[in-house]
């Protein structure tokens, strides 16, 4: 019941934001000359960003339900090319989604690209050799070398992946590998294995919008690569700051309020 209330509250907050945000969609092409740039000439992505969509609930087209805002999906072509067995697993996940989603049930790190489209803002910290992305949800943090280094070898799989960035013209491309198989893409049970490979592309289209694209490859789960895309909107409130959503801490306050149990 609490979970439901929380979902409704978040959906309501998202709706309020949609009302106050810039209504114009980001242009797909803009004069590159007009983009804000850093001293080293790259598009300046510094700032606080957020999606305005319902991908956190379901990355595909979906109808509204109690506590689930309806939405058009973010998957190009809408179809996710699951292998037959994987499709069965996805349906099973969907059936038990209220209790089995690691992120919503246990507040675990959401993985990539899910961290991007959680209904919480995130902050890009851009310097020439390192880019950090700070996420409000669960204080998730990615530190991304943009210095030509290669993926690390022989390390345990991770929740947020191993990220390496590079610039292709004005697009920041981040290659992400070394995931574990424990996160879902959304609350609808879309999932991946530890063979997941994500390539993110951040293309600034004007001062306040970034086109975000994520190509998903996972030969254990899908028959081919597929892609999500969505705009990121700059949070324009004059005093906007990334705050703290300490999901784990709040969950402990609920689960352990009457502790000890033994």
């Amino acid at each position: 019941m609490n979970r439901l209330k929380q979902s409704i509250a978040v959906a309501f907050a998202a709706a309020v934001m949609i009302c106050v945000a810039d209504p114009s969609a980001p242009a797909q092409t803009t004069g590159a000359a007009t983009l804000p740039r850093t001293a080293d000439g790259k598009p300046n992505l510094n700032g606080i960003w957020q999606v305005l969509n319902t991908a956190a609930w379901d990355i595909q087209d979906h109808t509204g339900q109690l506590g689930v805002p309806p939405g058009q999906g973010v998957v190009e072509g809408n179809e996710i090319p699951y292998q037959p067995q994987a499709l069965a697993k996805k349906r099973e996940n969907y059936a038990k989604r209220m209790t089995a989603d690691p992120t919503e049930t246990n507040c675990f790190l959401p993985g990539v690209p899910r961290a991007t489209y959680m209904p919480y803002p995130f902050e890009i910290v851009q310097t020439p050799n390192h880019i950090a992305i700070r996420y409000e949800f669960a204080h998730a943090l990615r530190t991304i070398p943009v210095n030509g280094s290669k993926h690390a070898d022989g390390i345990p799989p991770t929740w947020m992946g191993d990220s390496r960035g590079r610039w292709e013209g004005d697009t920041l491309v981040i290659d992400v590998t070394n995931f574990n198989d424990e996160t879902w893409f959304d609350r609808a049970g879309n999932f991946h294995s530890d063979a997941l490979h994500v390539v993110e592309r951040y293309t600034m289209t004007n001062a306040d919008h970034i086109l975000y694209e994520a190509t998903i490859e996972d030969p254990k789960v899908f028959t081919r690569a597929w892609k999500m895309s969505m705009p990121l909107y700059r949070r324009l409130e004059k005093t906007v700051k990334l705050l703290e959503y300490e999901c784990v801490f709040y969950l402990q306050e609920e689960r352990y309020k009457n502790a000890p149990f033994k």
């Binding site: 001293a39 669960a138 502790a259």
Partner: protein, 292 residues
Amino acid sequence: MRPSNSLIAIVLFASMARAQSARLPDGQPNMQGMYTRTGVKGLESEPPFNPIDPGEKNPLSVSNRGDGLGPYPRIFGEGGNVLRGQQARAQRPTGIVFPADKKLPWRPEEEAKRRQFLLDMNPPKDLRHIELNSRCALPGPFEGEDGNNPYTILQPPGQVVILYDYNHTSRVIDLNRREHLGKNIRLFMGDSIGHWEGNTLVVDTTNFNGRVAYSREIPYLSDALHTVERFTVVDENTIDYEVTIDDPQLFTGPWKVAGAFSKVSKGVESLEFACAEGSQTLQNIFGTPPTR
């Protein structure tokens, strides 16, 4: 959940250490890089008895269990030893530097509460008496796991950003902002506004949530806490650090701790420190919560 996922790793890797220019394009003195921190433990001249002591004498000490089930598997603490910062410079006085006798100006009734609180932490009486590190919460700006873990400083225009290796914590210090957040917004990490005075970054932080510790022996500070930190760029490898703790609810006056950040002598990359994802600490201490 697999306990093995519970964390970490620090991998020796590419080099970050190289000559850097003294000023950044926005005029800030350049202190970017990876550092270890020393000297900042608030060791009092008359410390309280703390049953959660690193001496590992108490089997219930959640921070020091050696079975890998606590939040810090053994490998974790070794990072700081490998990464010991450059120590070329003569040490300044560190630790509590004001008052000079290292006796913190506790209000007597608050000192008594603090001592009782420490006793109630072991065994933990209830959730309130579990240290934040064992809850995988944001640690606040001070308690970076004894300074054994590296801190990476990035300086995008108008900000200083500190990335802690510890529990994927990070902190932003805004240089172009004058006013703190509204008083009803309370934060583990506080709300930080900074400005440069020559080579010294002065940081004013408020809006704390009353839950953050200064150290194991100072297990909480109140939400009236106000800190002023001074980060002084001494040379390419060294930042002198000083923090003034002003918490009128707990103390009759401010006190100061000094330490230093030293650039790591080997370039490293930090890997993921997932905490809650593998931690069994609360179940081990309290038992399994009833299903709702």
